[in-house]
């Protein structure tokens, strides 16, 4: 019988190794799997490369993982935010390597890893600092930069609902990077707020088919949190 339901976050994260590349879903605070990140802090894996759109908010979740000194490098599009003080300090003191990637390239490089694409030519960033010295090519009169996949050893994502086959649906704009990160990792671990029986999820509305998911863990629902912007006084 296939049963991808893990009993606990600790069980789901038991095999994460030092030096892993960890894809972490979320955009700002929407869809960020804080419970799994807290579990990773407890689990102790270090020397990690983390891929996320941002670089942590306030002192919790990803910011706490950074603060705990577990991350060697972060690959992201928008580290600097109103509440990214933990990242800012580590970056400025040279304790954290940053690879800055345009947001769409980040998503597509992750998708490419999941889809078995060796590399792809993308117009974004051509002629800018962020294209670095990567190969370029003119195709039908337009300029492109060669972009390589970003593959994860582990993906940590936050979904809404799941079943024992690992099928997932998401909630609103918290979907963001979840579906592509799930595809791109050797081992995808998702939290859900609800686990249902096989057949209860509408097959037309399953966003991530279970083939991309290795373990799911149920967590309690908590109120969504603001983050990443300066609140009006």
């Amino acid at each position: 019988m296939i049963n991808k339901i893990a009993r606990s976050i600790a069980e789901a994260l038991a095999d994460v190794k030092d030096g892993s590349t960890v894809l972490i879903g979320g955009f700002g605070t929407a869809g960020i799997p804080n419970e799994l990140i807290d579990g990773l802090i407890e689990q102790g894996a270090k020397d990690l490369t983390v891929v996320n759109n941002n670089a942590g908010n306030a002192e919790v979740g990803l910011a706490a993982l950074l603060k705990a000194g577990r991350v060697r490098k972060i690959i992201c599009s928008f580290p600097r935010q109103a509440d990214s003080q933990v990242f800012d300090g580590l970056y400025r003191s040279g304790q954290l390597e940053l690879e800055l990637v345009p947001q769409g390239n980040l998503a597509e490089r992750i998708r490419a890893a999941g889809a078995g694409i060796g590399a792809f030519f993308c117009p974004t960033g051509f002629g800018t600092q962020l294209a670095g010295d990567r190969e370029t090519r003119e195709i039908d009169g337009k300029q492109y930069v060669l972009e390589y996949p970003i593959h994860g050893d582990v993906a940590l994502i936050k979904a809404e609902k799941g079943d024992r086959w690992g099928n997932l649906s998401y909630r609103k704009a918290a979907r963001n990077f979840g579906p592509v990160m799930a595809m791109a990792s050797d081992r995808t671990i998702a939290t859900v707020h609800e686990i249902v029986e096989l057949g209860e999820m509408d097959p037309e509305a399953i966003v991530t088919p279970g083939i991309f998911v290795h373990q799911i863990v149920r967590i309690d629902r908590v109120a969504t949190q603001a983050g990443g912007f300066k609140k009006a006084a």
Binding site: F87, K172, A173, V180, T224
Partner: protein
């Protein structure tokens, strides 16, 4: 003759005036967000947010905030009837694939031929952050910039060549500013309109570049 600069709201209204019925539009973080408040009545416009929303609506009433439903600036928003959610690779395919009609962005500098610099001032020690700016700039069918024409020091933000790090090359079609609306072309700047009382020679002097009359 004297002239009055467009206020932020007047500038937003000026941009909104050119957004056609049925357009799918991405409004960048900051000043461009104001454009949504000025869309002329009777025009149905679909707002795209790069974190995975089409049909984005205004901010929710106080107490109704849901931080799973935020815009690119991470502020809480709402979803209009007909709206949809999708993942990031699809969202950016909408840009690069040429499905998005218009994006409106802020800028540090724009060159006369439409190069854009809006993600980094290149200052040493500054923490870089790019987000979706590069994808949007080269992806939308039309990229419009909305900005003050001059810096606080009175220097033109429209330049012969950007000195700040580039976001994209020859990607800006129009600049909507507090003093004039200009088109960027391979041949340089072309006037679309200017505020009342500002004569052409004076505008050219402020910009420091030749501007082809309307």
């Amino acid at each position: 003759m004297s002239y009055q600069k467009r206020t932020k709201d007047q500038l937003a209204a000026r941009v909104a005036q050119d957004i056609f019925d049925g357009a799918v539009v991405n409004l960048g973080i900051g000043q461009p967000t104001l454009v949504a408040n000025h869309l002329p009545e009777g025009r149905e416009v679909i707002l795209h947010s790069e974190n995975g929303i089409l049909g984005m609506g205004p901010a929710p009433a106080e107490g109704e905030e849901d931080y799973d439903l935020i815009n690119a600036g991470k502020q809480p928003v709402t979803l209009l009837k007909g709206g949809s959610f999708f993942h990031h690779a699809d969202s950016f395919a909408m840009m690069r694939g040429g499905h998005l009609d218009i994006c409106v962005l802020g800028a540090f500098q724009v060159s006369a031929t439409g190069d854009l610099a809006n993600w980094s001032t290149g200052e040493p020690g500054a923490i870089p952050a790019v987000g979706g700016a590069m994808d949007l700039a080269i992806g939308a069918k039309q990229t419009w910039v909305m900005m003050d024409l001059l810096t606080k020091k009175g220097e033109s933000k429209i330049v012969a060549q950007c000195s700040y790090p580039l976001t994209g090359i020859a990607c800006v079609k129009r600049v909507y500013s507090d003093l004039a609306t200009l088109e960027c072309t391979p041949q340089g700047l072309k006037l679309i309109d200017k505020v009342e009382g500002l004569d052409h020679a004076e505008l050219e002097k402020l910009v420091g570049l030749p501007i082809q009359p309307e």
